[in-house]
């Protein structure tokens, strides 16, 4: 008996997106690491910013897709959108961890510490924990319909932590985290000006991390989830024979 796992060919659009992501990442790395000028005060470590801020917005897109997936999964009882929501959480969590890690590496020379319990840093960490809790909760629910409903609800709620992280700088004035777009808080440490050189390297990177990159990764993750389910069905079939 031969067993075959059904597999759909990769859509042309996904191929194009994948190539765009790889080329785009290489280009923005070049722009950030070589083309942009060195910061006069912070030196080369400032270049990490070209990844740090875009990665947060990548997480924003991914978690936003989780909300969209959750709403549609609830409204249409659709498993497809539930899988997209799950993919959004995993990709977003990876991006959010990149964001924390790069921030930490930057903070070591600039703030003289890896970590500080600043409101924004705390809320970013809480955001990561919320989505980690999403994955744990998801693993604890066996019934597929129940899982879809619960996780959609949780995914919608979890987005509150993303919004808090985004806006906390404007609400809580005693943060030391700098704001690059608009005026920095009074106590911000390590601000730098968004000169034309910075903007030139930042904009392409933002565009890539905000749109193409999360969508491509989520799509791949979605296909992986579909194949995993195919495998489960196959196992079930084998067992029943």
């Amino acid at each position: 008996m031969t067993i075959e796992l059904e597999s759909k060919p990769m859509p042309l659009l996904l191929r194009a997106l994948t190539i765009m992501t790889v080329l785009g990442f290489a280009t923005t790395l070049y722009l950030g690491l070589f083309a942009a000028g060195t910061d006069i005060q912070q030196g080369d470590v400032q270049r990490i910013f070209y990844i740090h801020m875009p990665s947060f917005f990548g997480a924003f897109t991914a978690f936003g897709l989780t909300v969209l997936g959750g709403v549609l999964a609830l409204a249409r009882e659709s498993d497809k959108w539930d899988k997209i929501a799950l993919a959004g959480v995993e990709v977003g969590l990876a991006f959010a961890l990149i964001n924390l890690l790069t921030g930490s590496i930057w903070a070591r020379p600039i703030w003289n510490t890896w970590w500080t319990w600043d409101p924004r840093l705390t809320s970013a960490a809480v955001m990561c924990l919320t989505y980690a809790a999403y994955l744990m909760l998801r693993a604890g629910i066996e019934d597929a319909n129940r899982r879809r409903a619960f996780m959609s609800v949780y995914g919608i709620f979890a987005f509150v932590t993303v919004l808090i992280t985004l806006f906390i700088i404007r609400i809580v004035p005693d943060t030391i985290h700098p704001v690059i777009v608009g005026a920095s808080p009074q106590n911000a440490q390590g601000s730098f000006e968004a000169t034309s050189g910075v903007v030139l390297a930042l904009l392409p990177s933002m565009a890539l991390w905000l749109t193409v990159m999360p969508i491509t990764l989520i799509w791949h993750r979605y296909r992986l989830e579909e194949r995993r389910e195919g495998l489960d069905r196959l196992k079930l079939k084998l067992l029943s024979e």
């Binding site: 609830l74 409903a149 619960f150 949780y154 709620f157 509150v160």
Partner: protein, 223 residues
């Protein structure tokens, strides 16, 4: 005869209250836990006068949230274990009314623990916590996180590792309440005017969460 929305809510909350009045299980467990918690905090943090002013808000709110977790777990688990939730779902009642009913019971018990903690901490920590503004803040905060808690406990009560999962699911989502409520409490205790900003934020978050819970509750009890 059609039961009105309010009657449904009151019936469900009344049922929880009657069960509690007969067994006194939840409120005694929550109260003893809360008492232990503030004692443990005062030993663990070795609070002197100056440190107390800084931390008393945090101790109050962490204790309240953990105490509410105890109550929430029990409150929803008993609905599932005895099959009462199925009966509630069969009744021609709006899902949101079931939510408000369960929420009202939980908020009442947690609120009572909060009202018990305030004079107790006033006596034990030597600071005046019996302030009208602080009581208001406590009630709004309890209102808010009990709403999220009721929704999440309904979800986790249906999973395998229910007691373990509720804190993991709830603590990150309760953080906005903790953050604003602690700041408001600190502002009130130190006489800073900025407590109003924090209180308004807390009230705003509470409204948003409560509406979200009302809208989404139907999805987590559906079979």
């Amino acid at each position: 005869m059609k039961t009105s929305y309010l009657e449904t809510v009151l019936a469900i909350a009344g049922k929880d209250l009657r069960v509690e009045l007969r067994s006194r299980e939840l409120i005694s467990v929550m109260a003893i836990f809360a008492l232990l918690s503030i004692l443990v905090f005062s030993f663990a943090l070795e609070l002197d006068r100056a440190a107390r002013e800084e931390t008393v808000g945090g101790v109050l709110w962490v204790t309240l949230i953990f105490a509410s977790l105890l109550g929430l777990n029990r409150s929803l688990a008993q609905e599932y274990d005895l099959g009462n939730l199925d009966a509630l779902l069969l009744a021609p009642a709006p899902r949101s009314a079931i939510f408000v009913g369960k929420f009202a019971g939980n908020a009442l018990f947690t609120g009572l623990v909060g009202l018990l903690l305030l004079p107790l901490m006033t006596a034990l920590y030597g600071m005046n916590l019996l302030d009208g503004r602080l009581i208001l803040t406590a009630l709004v905060g309890v209102f808010g996180f009990c709403a999220v808690g009721t929704l999440l406990a309904t979800m986790t009560a249906q999973t395998r590792a229910r007691e373990a999962l509720l804190p993991i699911a709830m603590l990150p989502l309760a953080l906005p309440f903790l953050l604003t409520a602690v700041r408001a409490t600190k502002g009130i205790l130190t006489g800073a005017a900025e407590w109003q900003v924090w209180f308004q934020l807390l009230a705003g978050i509470t409204v948003i969460y409560f509406v979200l819970c009302l809208l989404l509750y139907g999805y987590v009890v559906e079979e």
